[in-house]
């Protein structure tokens, strides 16, 4: 099961992130999790939102370059060693993490980690076999 993330290209100049947020806010879109990858020239904003189709549409309308990417949202206990266990499982099967970011659930003792793997399908198989909970986009929003 995969979740969908929206990626937005940001040129490295002031006000660009603010502009994305303004566009999303005006369209009543809520962001659940985000991360920014940055280089000296540009950044990539990665977000998980409540209404991805609408978010894509309004961002495109405002001339942003956007893409939709499958990511894997994994629920882990918010306690020491929670992430370590997951990474060990993946490492044992030689699955690489391209990037990841995390947030804490509001209604439980768990954290959700958003992963982008080099081989998403293999990662899902490994995680499911180990009984790890993988969340869909909708489920992320209910937590």
């Amino acid at each position: 099961m995969k979740a969908e993330q929206i990626s937005v290209f940001l040129e490295n100049k002031s006000g660009r992130l603010a502009e994305v947020m303004r566009v999303l806010g005006a369209a009543q879109i809520n962001i659940r999790a985000l991360s920014i990858a940055d280089t000296s020239d540009f950044g990539i904003l990665r977000i998980i939102v409540n209404d991805k189709d609408k978010a894509l549409a309004v961002l495109k309308d405002n001339n942003f370059t956007v893409s939709k990417t499958d990511v894997i949202a994994v629920e882990v206990p918010d306690s020491p060693g929670g992430l370590s266990k997951i990474l060990d499982l993946l490492d044992a099967r030689k699955v690489n993490v391209e990037y990841m970011y995390a947030f804490i659930e509001r209604h439980s003792e768990n954290a959700v980690i958003i992963f982008r793997f080099d081989e998403n399908d293999k990662a899902i198989e490994v995680l499911q076999k180990a009984g790890i909970t993988i969340l869909s986009s909708q489920e992320i929003y209910k937590r």
């Binding site: 993330q5 660009r16 020239d41 990539i44 942003f64 893409s67 982008r116």
Partner: protein
Amino acid sequence: MIWNQEFETLPREALESLQLKRLQATVNRVYATVPFYKKKFDELGLKPAHIKSLKDMRLLPFTVKTDLRDNYPFGLFSVPMSSVVRVHASSGTTGKPIVVGYTRRDIDTWAELMARTLTAAGIHQGDIVHNAYGYGLFTGGLGAHYGAERVGASVVPISGGNTKRQIMILKDFGPTAITCTPSYALHLADVARDMGIDPSRDFKLRVGCFGAEAWSENMRHQIEKTFNIDAIDIFGLTEVIGPGVSSECLEAKNGLHVFEDHFIPEIIDPETGEPLPPGEKGELVFTSITKEAFPVIRYRTRDLTRLNPEQCVCGRTFLRMERITGRTDDMLIIRGVNVFPSQIESALLQIEGLEPHYQIIVDRKDNLDTIELLVEVNEKIFSDKVKKLEVIEKRVVHDIKEMFGVSCKCKLVEPKTIARSEGKAQRVIDKRKI
């Protein structure tokens, strides 16, 4: 100082009759040996015998850069390859260079012309010449080299690059003359200062011959002050012979004497192609009248200048051309390399998914030309992974370097951020203050 007193000071009348004789010989030769020229003449109903005076030059067809490219590599040579002892090439459009050939006599002519050039700058036997023009297919390095040897100077064939080592050699070998592009001269000075060396005191330089790119009177003053030398403007282009087409003299430093016993210059209206009267500004056109392997007939340089027929204080009777003040096309000269925006565009479009939304920003930092390419990111090349976008930037930098030998920077920008005026993007922003 004059290298070839006899020819460089020929009375105009004698010069013009020599030009006519040589022009007629050249026209006969190309008509008989180069199918491209024969076809062009035939289409116009023109026979070599129709050229009876220098005024008849206007009957001859023009040759343009694309003609040279279309006949790549050796199609315009007027002698068999067995008579060609050297080839050189300049960067042409879309990857293919313009290739020119030289017979043994052409190389000899070229050495003579560069000997005249260096002598006009006061360089003579006993001088040590630091030749920092690039050696290779580029005509600058070997052109200056042969000329310096011809006058009997000691040549340091340092070529371009490795600037710190150049500073060491400038200090230790004590050259009295330098030949390079004007921007590289100023870059050398910057690096020297960084190394704690004062270029106005710690070198023995007396004079420099600078060319291969446009520069200004202000830049001349800057170079002269920086190195405490005389800075002389020299001119040439690969298609005609390389450096050694025209040169300033030390006495006047006011206009470049065209070596008219070898090349006939004309100024034409770039729109109509009609010759303009002396003193008017227009496009510079050259016909070579002594070259054997690669003669050119009315080659349109796309450079804008004017010709000054006034007699010079130095005694030369040759016309003087003004510094090149512009071009009729969009060619950029980056560190002496000819770059067309269309070449950059075709390099970009080789990359899958890239659209032609780009801007070329040319600047001069620390006296070196820089190119920055802004490329708009579209959905086809965009990725959530930084790596993928960086690969595109690196590929652009690599391809441009391969094509021109010039390093550039590539910056990805958001779509529609490159200014479009009336639907047409401004492709080139040249911030250089020359």
